[in-house]
């Protein structure tokens, strides 16, 4: 009788296993040395030579705890030195608008509508820009068709070669005088890569990347060019381990997000538009017949909080949009800050996800919405799932999601607590998670640089590589951000680009980056271990050995082949 019961249960399990995804691998633990490598692969942008030993010495638990509290980790002077010349990173948006003016501001200054900057250097730059803009406008016909960004790739490559051998301060002057707007994009891109490569607070950088991507903005959309730097610095970075509600608020109020998802244009259609600006302005405004704009309201629920199946309706979107009327920006192109404009706020009663928000409210209507959304059970689940997909596996086991969701709810959305729960879970350190993720282009590029101990003195060529790999930094147009799923990054164009990058890097053909080829051992297996930090697959090693039989290996070739191998694409 008992025997039959067991057989019956076993059959049941087998049937279940055939239909449901198999999560058993997530109960199988890792070996001790696998644990350290796994933690380094997931919580950093890839191990550097010596990292495994360092964590061994400190103890994995302590190391993880430190990474969860980045303020306790001293920063790497290699990083601070590199960030120092990137001046725009510490400027406010309005300082940026003055120093690196967008064409509309240059135009306004030319027309005398705005004062020229007082600082003589900035003023000289502005005059140069004004001259250029004028020349450009006169030659408008020729420029009409120039839609493709970046121009001729050959020219771009030569330009990067020249810039790479120039001293950082001189380099910025060169770029600044030529194309001041480009400095902003260069500074952001360089800083992002330098931090990923050199920061000692690796998990914090991973989290900044995760949350920026979650609350994505697109740097090439109008005023976001001058607003993105402050967005990452002031809205995202301070909250990556904080309360989700604070992070949500910071993004909701950020000019970068208000501009990107058009909420700065979202006004009540019923409210009078004229007022303190006088009649002339009122007439101009009336012509534009302003009203509700649903863009932010929709993405706020679909992408930032509840998730697309989180249980909201089109009517909820309209109600949320009404609550956010009047959340706007004071002169976005001049780097203005968030303001609430009560005159265009919808004063009526709203019902958001069944909660009544009484008539007559003001700025607090949207605050109320953020409360409701941040504390909604769908949000806890949606955020927990997304974190697990990024850090554990593409298809994380439901038990882990439950555990993280509960932690999120129990701690009122404490991100550090959720991460800590994940890093203490058996699922994180399991065979199911181990090497199950394919590196994103950012992870691939940075991990290759870190593994080879390369010295980077100009990071823009790496940023160019990232664009070729399908992940241009700060340039994801859609509010979805980039996916962390394997399927997103495994395709022929991207694979070829990865292999080409690997060989170019170790042959020192990426400008601005130096790899010391003498560090690699002669023996292929030993050289492979040096960059993989584990044994290469037999198939990989056999392929390399066969190649070496036929020709004399040049220094660095074996390392390049390993960085382009299937082994190195996983983390």
């Amino acid at each position: 009788m008992k025997k039959y019961a067991v057989a019956f249960i076993l059959t049941g399990v087998a049937i279940l296993a055939a239909y449901a995804p198999d999560y058993r691998q997530f109960s199988q633990p890792l070996a001790k040395d696998q644990e350290i490598l796994h933690a380094l692969n997931r919580l950093t942008f890839g191990p550097r030579p010596g990292d495994v030993e360092a964590v061994q010495k400190m103890g994995l638990k302590k190391w993880i705890d430190q990474q969860l509290h980045p303020e306790r980790i001293a920063e790497n002077p290699e990083l601070t030195d590199r960030l120092k010349p990137l001046e725009s990173l510490t400027m406010s948006p309005s300082e940026i608008a003055t120093n690196y003016p967008p064409p509309v501001v240059v135009q306004a200054m030319m027309n005398g509508l705005l004062p020229m900057p007082a600082d003589p250097e900035a003023r000289a730059r502005m005059e140069l820009q004004a001259k250029r803009l004028k020349a450009k406008q006169e030659a408008k016909g020729d420029l009409k068709d120039k839609q493709g960004k970046g121009g001729d790739p050959l020219q771009q490559a030569m330009r990067q070669q020249v810039l790479a051998v120039t001293d950082p301060v001189e380099r910025r002057k060169l770029i600044g005088n030529n194309t001041p707007q480009q400095v902003l994009s260069y500074d952001l891109n360089e800083a992002k890569l330098y931090r990923a490569i050199y920061s000692n607070r690796q998990l914090e950088e991973q989290m900044v990347d995760f949350w920026f991507n979650h609350f994505n903005v697109y740097m090439d959309k109008g005023a976001d060019r001058i607003l993105t730097s402050s967005y990452e610095r002031d809205a995202i970075r301070p909250h990556v381990f904080g309360k989700f509600r604070d992070l949500l608020e910071a993004t909701a109020e950020s000019p970068a997000m208000l501009f990107y998802l058009d909420n700065w244009q979202n006004v009540s259609p019923d409210r009078p538009q004229q007022g303190r600006f006088g009649k002339q302005f009122a007439k101009q405004k009336a012509k534009q017949s302003r009203g509700l704009n649903e863009n932010y309201a929709r993405e706020l629920m679909e992408l930032h909080t509840l998730g697309v199946d989180g249980g909201y309706t089109q009517q909820d979107i309209i109600e949320v949009a009404r609550c956010f009327t009047g959340w706007t920006i004071n002169q976005p192109n001049r780097g203005g800050e968030f303001i609430y404009n009560d005159r265009v706020h919808d004063k009526g009663e709203k019902i958001v996800l069944g909660v009544k928000i009484p008539a007559g409210g003001g700025q607090e209507d949207a605050e109320r919405v953020l409360d409701i959304l941040a504390r909604h059970p769908s949000t806890a689940r949606f955020i927990s799932t997304k974190l697990a997909k990024k850090f554990v596996a593409d298809d994380p086991p439901p038990a882990l999601i439950e555990h993280l969701t509960k932690t999120f709810r129990d701690t009122d959305g404490d991100i550090r607590a959720v991460m800590a729960a994940m890093l203490e879970s058996k699922e994180f350190f399991s065979q199911g998670a181990f090497r199950s993720k394919v590196k994103t282009p950012l992870e691939l590029v940075v991990s290759a640089v870190r593994a080879t101990g390369a010295e980077v003195n100009f990071a823009i060529p790496l940023a160019t590589q990232m664009a070729q790999l399908g992940q241009p930094l700060y340039r994801k147009i859609e509010p979805t951000g980039y996916s962390s799923a394997n399927a997103e990054w495994v395709n022929s164009a991207a694979l070829l680009a990865r292999m080409n990058f690997a060989l170019a890097l170790t042959a020192n053909r990426v400008p601005g980056i130096k790899v010391d080829p003498s560090q690699f051992q002669d023996d292929a297996a030993a050289a492979a271990r040096q960059v993989l930090f584990h044994e290469p697959a037999k198939q990989t090693l056999d392929s390399i050995r066969r190649a070496l039989e036929q020709k004399e290996p040049t220094p660095g070739l074996v390392a390049g082949l390993v960085l382009g191998s299937p082994d190195f694409q996983r983390r």
């Binding site: 068709d145 120039k146 839609q147 493709g148 058009d262 244009q265 979202n266 259609p269 534009q288 017949s289 302003r290 009203g291 509700l292 704009n293 649903e294 863009n295 929709r298 679909e302 992408l303 697309v308 089109q314 979107i317 394919v438 070729q468 790999l469 399908g470 147009i477 859609e478 979805t480 997103e488 495994v490 395709n491 022929s492 164009a493 991207a494 694979l495 070829l496 680009a497 292999m499 080409n500 690997a502 060989l503 170019a504 042959a507 697959a537 198939q539 056999d542 392929s543 390399i544 066969r546 190649a547 020709k551 070739l557 390049g560 082949l561 382009g564 191998s565 299937p566 694409q569 996983r570």
Partner: protein, 412 residues
């Protein structure tokens, strides 16, 4: 048949003048019944971000269009460049799409109005996903409709299915071989020392995901080598626009002319999410006009470049959903429902706006705000799959869609 010949003949004359018609037109005229020795090719173009179909093909005969869009409406055709281009007395093309008018007039471009996905979602992400998987409302579908539209073959070409760009589009994913190509010239291992070794690694790896993609990649690389040896010059000095769609279509044309076995191709263009300042100082200017200019020029260049090869090629355009019939408060439009699709090529029954027009009066709108849907996008794609590509198994290409209603956009 006679009427079709007459029709083709007259439209050919209209477009190219006597003696200047492309060779395939005369082949179609005089040997319409002879089977084509070449494979049929389907090119799908996705306008990501939800294009405003009501300003792409303007229902200028609809009075409420002008009431709903005081700032955005394109004026009725008046022969100037600042108004719609009349197609049939009711619909007109956006003036920025003027390069497509001769193709329409020649009877090789069909327009389908009020078409789209029956799923009510207004999420870009979901709607794109549903359209590309070909299964509205079903998220679990792992592969894409273009991949499923390929028929099993004994020795398939490694580049039978090509997705232009650095990522393999959702439409192309699946168990049939499909590759992503960003740039044909660059599709190789640049450092010759690595080529053979990488190929052997990826051929032999036990990593199933990377093994599959790796094999497909290196098979395609070999095939591309011959193409890369000579620079590409589009026929008759045709100039493709510099934007991404123009460049993608140029590469597709190059693949088609190289006869490497292309069957389906996918290209995309983004930027259509015009919530804010969709139009400029005049409704015929600004953001949407610029995008449509690029779009129209790219399609027209492709058509002209392919010349007589167009006989085997069909192009279809789609976007995840339409935009609100009414303009919003910031000179833009929000997410809507039904939209417009284009199909053109040798086998297309063009020169016509297909589909029932649901009207734009308040009570005719979907959820009182958007254009109603009268044609399922799978009717259009399904017809191309069956009648153009010759894959009869429409229900395996569009699972759960048992009875597509073909609209007669493909001759056959």
């Amino acid at each position: 048949m006679t009427s079709r010949r007459l029709f083709l003949k007259s439209s050919a004359l209209a477009m190219f003048g006597v003696g200047a018609a492309p060779a395939w037109l005369s082949r179609a005229l005089y040997a319409a019944d002879a089977p084509s020795p070449r494979k049929k090719i389907l090119v799908a173009i996705f306008q990501r971000g939800a294009v405003d179909g009501l300003n792409m093909v303007i229902p200028f005969g609809e009075k409420n269009y002008y009431n709903l869009r005081p700032n955005l409406a394109i004026p009725k055709p008046d022969g100037t460049e600042d108004a719609a281009i009349d197609l049939d007395g009711f619909f007109g093309l956006h003036p920025a799409l003027s390069p497509l008018k001769p193709i329409y007039d020649a009877g090789h471009m069909a327009i389908v109005q009020a078409v789209g996905s029956p799923d009510p979602t207004r999420s870009h992400f979901d709607a794109q996903d549903y359209m590309e998987s070909g299964t509205p409302g079903r998220k679990a579908t792992a592969d894409g409709w273009l991949n499923r539209s390929l028929l099993a073959q004994p020795n398939p070409s490694p580049v039978r299915a090509v997705s232009l760009g650095t990522a393999l589009s959702r439409s192309m994913r699946g168990h049939n071989e499909a590759v992503a190509i960003a740039n044909l010239n660059d599709f190789k291992i640049r450092d010759t020392r690595g080529a053979g070794t990488f190929e052997s690694m990826y051929d032999n790896t036990l990593d199933q995901v990377l093994n599959g993609a790796g094999r497909e990649t290196f098979e395609a690389v070999k095939l591309m080598q011959s193409i890369q040896q000579q620079p590409y010059a589009p026929s008759g000095g045709v100039q493709y626009p510099n934007g991404p769609l123009g460049q993608s279509l140029m590469q597709i044309a190059r693949l088609i002319k190289s006869d490497v076995g292309l069957e389906v191709a996918f290209a995309e263009m983004g930027g259509w999410d015009t919530h804010f300042n969709e139009v400029g100082a005049r409704p015929t200017q600004g953001q949407l006009a610029n995008l449509l200019g690029q779009f129209g020029n790219a399609l027209a260049a492709f058509y002209q470049d392919l010349g007589d090869r167009m006989a085997d090629v069909s192009v279809v355009t789609m976007s995840e959903f339409g935009r609100t019939a009414r303009e919003n408060g910031s000179r833009g439009t929000d997410h809507g429902h039904a939209n417009v699709m284009f199909a053109f090529g040798g086998g297309v029954r063009g020169g016509k706006v297909h589909g029932e027009w649901p009207g734009l009066e308040q009570e005719q709108l979907y959820e009182q705000r958007d254009l109603q849907l009268t044609t399922d996008f799978r009717d259009v794609l399904g017809e191309l799959v069956v009648r153009h590509l010759g894959n009869p198994r429409v229900t395996s290409v569009f699972p759960g869609y048992d009875q597509p209603k073909f609209r007669g956009i493909v001759t056959g």
